[in-house]
Symmetry: C2
Subunit: 429 residues, 2 copies
């Protein structure tokens, strides 16, 4: 049974609050372990990397096999199916063309006091990308993490991905090639994040680290933040579908399960104004779980973390959506544009009945790295801006300084910073 909430029941507010406050993340405190790993890499570099890789990934890492060679990438590409490579190219082109539109503009103007003001954007010099390995090796994530960096103009793109037993997923390597990645290292875990942040052996430090990973990877990113920039800390995936009764139940069930199949901690939520439709979707989900190849994962995510919320009218949906601030939001309704204007917090919104969330995971173009676990309240999906930074520009001549300088000196005095005031006053006649 999946949790069912009805917005007309007396205890809806508290039941809903309890539902969304549930910690799906496990929340084990791995900070001490991660701190130790980072200190080890900082102290012993390549030796520590080899030791930890032997321990966690089960193979003998050395400088000779750390970096994937061009020949290995070529061999990997030949192992891929032509159809998969074609789909990868199709996806890469679409992701690139969407992200090109995100490139920010520089600005420069002279204001009414004669002060020249503006800003300039530049790419970072080097970015590190983390890609999970083993069973959950996702070539699409390599595209989604690397292409924004490539579009931003980052010169050096280093990919780290754990290689259990030394083996790499061929389609991941093919994706890395398409996304302009310049270095690929077969390392993972907190040790890989530390190596990217501080350098280790032949790996030079990077400026920004992005990409999803497990709890250790997430905590390592948190701890190296400040030494390098990072994207958001990724949590378990989620989907919220707002659907009226005019949808095909099997379609909506399929959408709910598309996120449920990621992980037992994933979350799928349906909001509908039609209680009978809710029953039909619930039945369809049960049927599809029964047939699912990933039955255990989907069943756990659906039964433990998910919910169907029945509302009186869809006008109630925006407030509920904003409280959840979902990573993925489908508006499977007749007039999605109207509801869109009333919703403030969501990572990505999928409009209408023919936009299953999965198109956004692969080929639509926008990034699939999106804020999870209510963080769409304050965070955005990955973009070219994560790989760029803005420099402010300020220019005065003697006249402009004469106009704005005195107020600066007054405030510096008020704050007890006389050298600040002096640096202005020495230039005033």
């Amino acid at each position: 049974m999946v949790l069912r909430l009805d917005s007309s029941s007396a205890d809806f507010a508290s039941a809903f609050e309890q539902f969304i406050s549930k910690d799906r993340d496990g929340g084990a405190d791995v900070s001490a372990v991660v701190r130790e790993v980072i200190n080890k890499i900082r102290a012993d570099g390549m030796d520590a990397l080899a030791e930890l890789t032997q321990k966690f990934d089960g193979f003998a890492l050395c400088e000779a096999n750390l970096k994937i060679t061009d020949a290995e990438i070529e061999i990997a590409e030949k192992q891929c199916r032509a159809e998969d490579l074609k789909a990868l190219d199709f996806a890469a082109d679409r992701i690139r063309s969407y992200h090109l539109k995100q490139l920010p503009k520089d600005e420069r103007y002279t204001d009414d006091m004669g002060v020249t003001l503006g800003w300039r954007w530049n790419a970072v010099d080097a970015a590190g990308l983390y890609a999970p390995g083993g069973r959950a090796a996702y070539p699409s994530s390599v595209l989604m993490n690397a292409i924004p960096a490539q579009v931003a103009g980052v010169g050096r793109l280093a990919l780290v991905t754990p290689a259990p037993g030394g083996e790499m997923n061929p389609l991941v390597l093919a994706a890395a090639k398409r996304a302009g990645i310049t270095e690929i290292y077969r390392i993972g875990g907190a040790q890989a994040i530390a190596a990217l942040a501080y350098g280790a052996g032949p790996i030079a430090p990077v400026d920004v680290i992005v990409g999803p990973g497990n709890a250790y990877v997430a905590e390592a990113k948190r701890q190296v933040f400040g030494k390098v920039g990072i994207d958001s800390i990724a949590g378990p995936s989620e989907i919220l579908v707002v659907a009226d009764g005019q949808n095909e139940p099997a379609w909506i069930a399929a959408d709910l399960l598309s996120q449920a199949e990621h992980d037992p901690s994933s979350q799928s939520i349906l909001i509908t104004d039609d209680a009978q439709f809710a029953d039909r979707v619930s039945n369809a989900v049960d049927e599809q779980i029964a047939e699912s190849e990933r039955k255990e994962i989907t069943a756990a995510a659906w039964h433990d973390n998910s919910a169907i919320i029945v509302v009186g009218t869809l006008d109630e949906a925006p407030a509920i959506v904003d409280r959840i601030a979902p990573e993925h939001l489908e508006l499977a309704i007749e007039a999605p544009e109207e509801l869109l204007t009333k919703i403030r917090h969501a990572g990505a919104i999928f409009m209408g009945r023919y936009t299953p969330e999965a198109v956004g995971d692969y080929v639509a173009g926008p990034d699939h790295v999106l804020p999870t676990v209510h963080s769409a309240r304050y965070a955005s999906g990955l973009s070219v801006l994560d790989f760029m930074k803005r420099t402010s520009i300020i220019g005065c001549d003697a006249d402009a300084l004469a106009r704005i300088g005195p107020a600066a000196a007054t405030l510096a005095d008020a704050e007890g910073l006389p050298s600040h005031a002096n640096s202005v006053r020495v230039r005033l006649k």
Copy 2:
């Protein structure tokens, strides 16, 4: 004596590397203490806040005196000098008009496959601002942190600032009023950050926390990151001045000391192509330190953390600047525009001989919250974007899905995610 480096000496590379690698931050590990404070606030809310405020700020905090009243703000404003309030208004207007130009644009288009794509920006619902208190209470920082949030359209702006003995700086309260702050709480330290992130007593949780603070505040922001968004972690301030020999030595000395007076861990660096000018600046700095009201701080920052770097020609400057990635960069040279194009990493650049960094601290318009300690490599100054987030928008009709869906299903299959593939295929004819 200040450290002097000459780019023509044989050991310049290693001496420079040693200079910039020095940890100015102290770097004591306060993470365990901070974790305890955060857990205490989460568990005991207002009671914990009162206990910690009694301990660190030395007064009896309760719900009745936690929040500054409108009457208190009115009284505070009357205590301020008219000239200071006028300068504050002047600064606020200029900061507001610069940040208005940063408001990002929404985007929507239909591509050649018939897919509707775009994005929409929204402000966060609530932002928390930290302002240091006591001796280092800076009304300008209140403006610089709050106005971008106000311009972004944030509805709720909560300011926290420690009030040693319960007392607040009147000009800080006046600044808060001008910056549209809706709530002011007399609390500080890691406990204030925890209260903003998780709520405590009457304080409701916010979505984003920004603002500078000491090591405990910085670590608290790091630990609550993920529950809320944060800006960069602030380190000690710094200035880098690139100057030719045609400058007035006393002006450049004043600029170097304007950052040195912040804190003993501040850093001031001069790069010049004129060794005799370097001597003159060095002498001028010594003279100004001798006359300084903040002699101990400026002397410590100058002698312990600063440097004069003499180069053969100013063409060498961009590479050195980029390696330092300074928070503040002055180009006190004849043709700053030319050098500007060659420099990639700096928080803010001050152009020409009449733009002392201090105008940027107060009245120029751009934000004075800037990336410190080499983080301009990857980070930007505070902007309206720190208080907004972007939602991706994706829309397909049946025809568009028929064009892009098959590739999505192919990739989902390749990644072993059959429910993803199914959610697309059920919609294809």
